[in-house]
Symmetry: C2
Amino acid sequence: MDGLFRSQNPAGLVPAAARALFRAGTRPGTTSGWCHGHVQANMLAVPRDLAFDALLFAWRNPRACPLIDVTDPGDPCPRTAAPHADLRTDLPAYVVYRDGEPVATLEDAVPAWREDMVGLLTGCSFTAEDALLAAGIPLRHLEQDRNVPMYVTNRRCAPTRRLSGPLVVSMRFVPRDLVGAAAEVTGALPLAHGGPVHAGDPAALGIADLDKPDFGDAVRPRDGDVPVFWACGVTLQAVIMSSRPEYAVTHAPGRMFITDLAS
Amino acid sequence: MDGLFRSQNPAGLVPAAARALFRAGTRPGTTSGWCHGHVQANMLAVPRDLAFDALLFAWRNPRACPLIDVTDPGDPCPRTAAPHADLRTDLPAYVVYRDGEPVATLEDAVPAWREDMVGLLTGCSFTAEDALLAAGIPLRHLEQDRNVPMYVTNRRCAPTRRLSGPLVVSMRFVPRDLVGAAAEVTGALPLAHGGPVHAGDPAALGIADLDKPDFGDAVRPRDGDVPVFWACGVTLQAVIMSSRPEYAVTHAPGRMFITDLAS
């Protein structure tokens, strides 16, 4: 990380400044906590031939993939969410998938951006976490300095012809008497996955062991905590791995696109 | 119209019965007033190659084109809106467009349905009219037995690479002291175009003469009436005519697809 980054508090940066840092080579391990008050987004880019399926998949699965912006083919600028940004350079890191396999991690996606690529931005729970904390709901993974744990469930997303796969959820332990408040706070944020899809027994989602998340880190509960599950933007990555389209580029996990939109 | 139709009140039919009548050859001039309490929809079908633009256009213009359902390529069944229906046969009439020109009106779209066609259903103001009447707001075009007047405006829709065009609005005269109520009632119906885009001087939308609508019929105001304008699903037809894609099929004006969804 360079001097400009060290000299500033990431939470207080405006999105354009954060994106300029990433573009210039600052590569934080996560954008969690950056640019407080602004919407962060998952990014999926696919060739135009797959873009109808990607857009339709997001539309059919708004809980997991709430659409924030969609670019025109070949245009790397998300003109609604951040009209001066470039999706090829303004995220800290990218993953390239071929036939559903992650084959490369890149810090600059210009070489990976085919001329007809369409970029989709979908909502991310980082936005909801700000609201949960503001409502006085503790977040155990932050207390324990872990990434939020994520699990592949036994629920199937509504498929399209070429994209299908399981719903992925994030889990946060919430004190029993705050579960209702957590549902209410997040239910008001449809662009950050909305309210929980489940609270309580993980087996109801086909999750065998909370200590073994499929993505992120295991987190310890405190006495009286209940596991609460939200649809997760990583669903799109699970769908790419499951459906094995010829080519796709995504953000690297935890390193999101920071939009200009107020959260 | 056949005996089954004449023997029944269209308002009281369930959607499946109405669709069966259309499929069997009953061809009413409008579906306005049919199947009370159910959502009616505009229909646009395009080859898969144009489907990304059509879906993206609707997503970018939710006021004019609120998405209700989208079919998979080649599948004529709108599985969310009416899981036992067939878009090729279950509307009273269709229009076929080639290079943006309406070239044929059909009563059966099976011959026009290319094997990769994607059907989009978008919200229609017939649903909102039920709610306006229920709220005690008079509808002059119904009092005068006219079609609602529609106007091409000077507002441009948010374009995609291959689809662009003007916003089309419908106009209803509303007594001045009921304009707020009309806005509130329709604002709660985002799948029926939501609240008005404008109330008052038509010149603000570039409309020169209310007596010369671009579609539908001129309607006379009563003393104290204000013209109120809502985004209109005919926008999609204006966009097809303006953008001139190679091929598209739509419902015939006023003869909508009646979904199973409760309004």
